[in-house]
């Protein structure tokens, strides 16, 4: 039984328009920074998603910015009420991805809108596509900011990965971008193809349906195509590429096919990154040679503008990382009440609510999540008790400021895996992707006598106000004259 979902980006755009989560911009905008500046400001203000109908130099092309940078838009993509609370969205998501996986179906090219236009051979020219200069000072025009790169293992061709790896246009037939060695595609490329000097086929998918985008962003432990099927409740439709055997979402806007070339590098970056900084320097990065481009009529480029929060990279990555941690901790029977990674932290800080059942439980949580494959993407864990609303920033800040012992509650894990994108990392750590981790244990120690343990003073604490008083105040609230 399929869930309510949008088969392509165009249906999603219509849904956002209907819910008031989209602004259609009819006046011409310049791809050279103006478009990016609009998307950036929209992210910083939590504004509706901008939909650009007319772009300088590129008649017939449109662009859709910040497709999923708010919880409302993520709810809509999932087919839920836009105001669904985060914990309910998490529950629904977990419910779907713990159901049996659903294999994709292959459709014919006649049934694949992404095949409506075809560029091969000498006609391949990336400058025919509206690649924006997203931020001033970027190392080039980033065609691929909200997209996915499809790649397959050489040794096990059924092992197909969808992932978001940014791509910058270098020349008509060349793109470049970072592929970190611990990423899924990095493992395939550096461990299987590069050692035998074999180019790795790839397909970049721009403007895929929103659930495929969510799957590509998620640290899925199996095929993202099957993961997408779980989110949809039915198979995602894929179509075979023109120049290789990879399968791509049939209803996407643009497909770029080609090969990743071993043992060469082209200068890429700087780029405004998800941390809210331009951190990684210009450096020689992975090279993609393009052999073929297919696209829909009047294609719509999707544009994410990463910077200070909140953009969809921060939001979705926080969401999916937290869910994977929740699954991990629940699999170990840790009595957690929830896991929430704060998008405002650029997915560096995760809050875990837990029943303070035994001494050392915060350390156990720290070791488990820092020891997981998710670890490179965050470095701070904050453990609070299960009475704290982990989705409420005010409550987290209160716990952090009052329950965290400044020496006994802070635990450092040295020489861990990090990323070169940490803005705080020193140049050597950044170069080698190293990073320390920190655990903030905001639980009161269990060996404190009950009589000496502070009691949180809040309206909803029955130790402070008995339930009958709470109920009386709540039912009379408006009568007292309050309007909220």
């Amino acid at each position: 039984m399929p869930f309510k979902y949008y088969k392509d980006n165009r249906e999603f755009i219509k849904a956002l328009e209907k819910s008031g989560d989209l602004v259609t911009i009819e006046q011409e905008v310049d791809w050279d920074m103006e478009l990016g500046a609009i998307v950036r400001r929209a992210c910083e203000k939590n504004s509706p998603a901008p939909y650009f109908k007319k772009i300088k130099d590129y008649p017939g092309w449109e662009a859709f910015g910040a497709p999923m940078s708010t919880w409302r838009r993520l709810n809509i993509a999932m087919g839920l009420d836009p105001e669904t609370p985060i914990n309910e969205l998490q529950d629904e998501y977990i419910r779907r991805i713990t159901a049996p996986t659903i294999k994709p179906v292959e459709v014919s090219r006649e049934n694949a809108p992404c095949k409506e236009n075809l560029l091969t051979g000498d006609d391949v020219d990336l400058f025919k596509l509206v690649a924006p200069m997203v931020h001033g000072g970027d190392g080039g025009r980033y065609l691929c900011t909200w997209h996915m790169v499809v790649g397959a293992s050489l040794k096990a061709p059924d092992n197909v990965n969808w992932g978001m790896y940014r791509q910058m246009v270098f020349d008509e037939k060349t793109m470049c971008g970072p592929v970190l060695p611990f990423s899924d595609m990095g493992k395939m490329f550096y461990e299987e193809y590069a050692p035998i000097d074999k180019p790795m086929p790839f397909a970049t998918v721009i403007g895929m349906d929103p659930l495929s985008g969510i799957a590509a962003c998620a640290p899925a432990p199996y095929s993202e195509a099957e993961y997408t099927g779980q989110l949809m409740g039915e198979p995602v439709e894929l179509v075979k590429c023109e120049t290789n055997n990879l399968l791509v979402p049939a209803h996407a806007e643009v497909i770029i096919e080609g090969e990743i070339i071993p043992h060469v590098g082209i200068e890429e970056a700087p780029f405004g990154e998800y941390t809210g900084y331009r951190t990684s320097p210009r450096a020689a990065r992975t090279v993609y040679k393009v052999t073929c481009i297919t696209y829909r009529h009047n294609p719509i480029l999707t544009v994410s503008n990463m910077g200070i929060p909140t953009d969809e990279g921060q939001l979705l990555r926080s969401f999916s990382l937290a869910l994977e941690m929740r699954k991990l901790l629940e699999s170990q029977q840790i009595p957690i009440s929830g896991v929430y990674m704060l998008p405002e932290s650029t997915h560096h800080l995760v809050a875990v609510g837990v029943r303070n059942a035994y001494p050392g439980i915060a350390h156990q949580i720290g070791h488990l999540v820092f020891g997981s494959k998710l670890a490179p993407w965050f470095h701070m864990v904050m453990v609070v008790d299960d009475k704290t609303d982990i989705y409420n920033l005010n409550e987290l800040m209160h716990d952090f400021s009052t329950k965290l012992h400044p020496s006994k509650g802070i635990h450092i894990y040295k020489s861990h895996v990090g990323t070169p994108l940490y803005p705080f990392a020193d140049p050597a750590d950044r170069k080698y992707g190293k990073g320390d981790k920190v655990l903030f244990d905001c639980l009161f120690p269990l060996d404190w006598p009950l009589a000496e343990t502070p009691i949180k003073v809040g309206f909803s604490n029955p130790d402070i106000y008995p339930l009958e008083i709470q109920e009386k105040v709540l039912s009379s609230w408006k009568e007292y004259g309050f309007k909220d």
Partner: protein, 97 residues
């Protein structure tokens, strides 16, 4: 007609060699659909904005645009991706070959 290019320099600016043929990546700043196209070239560069036929703007490693205008002479365009690792922070000095 003077063309305008830019390049990224990661070393200290004072260490950049002038008037020595180097291999580097430059970007075309001509307005239009191909603006920011990258190119491998052999070139001579100078802090003197009038010494060579084209204008060169210089950016640092995190994209900071320096305020002085340089000049550049392209001596050869390099097809493909050079197999020899080139030194991105200031270009390869070709006199070492």
């Amino acid at each position: 007609m003077r063309k305008e290019w830019d390049t990224y320099i990661l070393t200290k600016l004072a260490e950049v060699e002038e008037d020595v043929e180097t291999l580097r990546v430059i970007r075309d700043l001509t307005p239009g659909t191909h603006k920011y196209r990258g190119k491998f070239v052999k070139c001579l560069i100078s802090r003197d904005p009038d010494k060579y036929p084209d204008t060169l703007r210089v950016r640092l490693g995190r994209g900071q645009l320096t305020n002085k205008i340089w000049s550049i002479k392209i001596t050869a365009e390099v097809e493909g991706i050079p197999t020899k690792p080139y030194h991105m922070s200031g270009g390869i000095s070709l006199k070492e070959d």
